[in-house]
Symmetry: C2
Subunit: 365 residues, 2 copies
């Protein structure tokens, strides 16, 4: 797994030297995980030997998990042991130590809020260069090594979906199915990319339903949205079923959603506007009279984070690039009746997209 992060680190160093910068201060657990394979650090400084800055209680974990570099802990008071490198003060004090002697104009920053940028400028005695936009593009263009982890995460998601389907029987609760999903992922040493959604009947009308003690009954819609995390990288997939025989209305909605997914998925390719497939899905549902029940975007980027750029949604100005991994997940939700969503994850390529999630699409169980 370490090689994934070392490659990401080399790419970030190239970005840095390409911009004539000497150091990059990285904020945000996902950005740090992307470069160093651990979320134990609060700030990372890269450019030569990476430095991970942590609260004291995360020091040892950072030392063990980091792909490369050294770790500096921060503490306001107390006593520390022989094996810890500690800076007395706060994170900004540690940054001052690590960046001593560097010209602020030669320091890049990624992932900082406006407030943090202001504090940094004060602490460093000058404005560093915000390259969050370029850094975001690094994260968007997935490498083959990153895709290999995401494919593994997709396999675990498929296994969890099968286990969830196996649990379905009259009287089982949404919560019991969610527990089975979590149990499968966690017991094998993986984690989940988000709390799974399991929703029966009219409850499936909530796009982000929370698994409850509601019991399954014959003939009801069953919506299951889940994802696993492998080596820090996420997967994401939704299937909707009917437990028993589908009604005409259920089948009508399901087929409309499936068609809108197929049509919009066909368009996904490097270079197109991220809004275009959304518009296509919307139009497809509109032809069936269902567009007003499609109450969210078509999809989102996936990587270290379960929701990350780009967003396939109305009004976006982003264009898709080769290496983007995005979901395509139209849905139709009717209050008091239920909802249908079908979601797959694809990697964007020149001229098209490659499917990453393979669980069969069938309506009746």
């Amino acid at each position: 797994m370490r090689e994934v992060f070392l490659e990401n680190l080399r790419r970030a160093e190239q970005l840095l030297s390409g911009k004539g910068l000497e150091r990059l201060i990285v904020f945000g657990p996902a950005n740090i995980q992307f470069l160093l394979g651990t979320d134990a650090a609060s700030i990372a400084v890269i450019g030569d030997e990476p430095v991970l800055i942590t609260p004291r209680l995360e020091y040892l974990r950072a030392v063990e998990e980091k792909a490369e570099g050294r770790v500096v802990a921060v503490a306001k008071a107390g006593e520390w042991s022989e094996y810890e490198e500690v800076v007395k003060g706060d994170f900004y004090d540690a940054l001052s130590v690590v960046l001593k002697g560097f010209d602020p104009g030669k320091i890049g920053v990624a992932g900082a809020s406006k407030d943090t940028l202001r504090k940094l400028a004060k602490k460093l005695g000058g404005k560093p260069v915000d390259i969050s936009g370029e850094f975001k593009m690094l994260r968007r263009r997935k490498t083959d090594k990153e895709l290999a982890l995401m494919r593994r995460a997709a396999r675990v998601a498929e296994q969890a979906m099968q286990k969830a389907v196996d649990q379905l029987e009259p009287g089982v609760t949404e919560a019991e199915v969610a527990a089975a999903i979590l149990e499968l992922m966690v017991s094998r040493g993986y984690t989940f990319s988000f709390y799974p959604i399991v929703a029966f009947g009219e409850h499936s009308a909530h796009p982000h339903a929370k698994p409850s003690t509601r019991k399954l009954r014959e003939g009801e819609l069953v919506k299951i949205d889940l994802g696993a995390r492998v080596g820090g990288y996420c997967s994401d997939m939704t299937r909707t079923f009917v437990y028993g025989k589908a009604s005409r209305r259920q089948r009508h909605i399901y087929e409309a959603v499936l068609e809108s997914q197929e049509k919009s998925m066909e368009e996904v390719a490097a270079g197109i506007s991220a809004e275009k497939p959304y518009r296509t899905a919307f139009k497809s549902l509109k032809e069936r009279g269902l567009a007003k029940y499609f109450n969210h975007g078509l999809g989102h980027g996936v990587g270290i984070e379960i929701h990350e750029p780009p967003y396939l949604t109305a009004g976006t100005r982003e264009k898709l690039v080769a290496g983007d991994v995005v979901t395509v997940e139209p849905g139709v939700y009717m209050a008091g009746y239920g909802g249908v969503r079908i979601e797959d994850m694809v990697v964007v390529k020149d001229g098209g997209a490659e499917l990453l999630t393979f669980f069969d699409k069938f309506l009746e169980i």
Copy 2:
């Protein structure tokens, strides 16, 4: 459960009228959950009939989950169904509609970042009054209704701890034990307040260890930190055991941590500095030569959030108040060897503290 939130809402309304304010804009999922019993809204406005502002996809869930009030969805484009109330634009546009005609000086704000405060002042045409500090105190002073939920969450945590202990046998992995914990909580319709920590042997030296596929061996330390969430409220508890017969060193560390917990717990009471019990625990461990391995604070507040004010730590200026629920959790962590933490949750009262978590403390399993 609804009564818990209605009481919180009434308390917030009293705070508001006590300050001569007419409306309160509330940011932050935990703050909104505290008042309205749902995390589906992105912003809430209270003062008369509460208004919950949501992205469109959370509209129906907010309608169903909210303790009181009406829901307004926000959308940039699209078409919507007959049952949705939608404002076209972003969250700030919705706020402008909801707060039309109000004097900015009569509007309070809680939970906004500095950037958000700046944007709000621009949008409202004047500075609203930041009462985040007072709002935080409302959340700190738990009502009997809130405590009743936290006691239930503590009972679920104790049951999960028992199940975790029952899993321990040579060869079981940390991940398998973590999966059993999650399965118990989730299958019953509760959730977890955080991803459980299960760490064996030298891995227990990480205060925030992540459950891995490491297998348990005879004579090793076993550290388990877990919490359940019931009705939105969290519990938190840690126990450390030795699987088999404890060595003299393991027993020495365990007894030192237990003693420091007992001594610091005795001091917890309304009116004292939140730093004082930390200092006592530190001193107690120092007498055993272990203070330098105590690499975190003594405890934190618990409520809707698993970590919330006050923090029992070096350098804090907070005082404990009656109704604070805090953890008392000293720990000793030695690189390459292992760690011991013992954690309980207590409610602060005048003259003392009442224990909320009751799982037995024993060293050997």
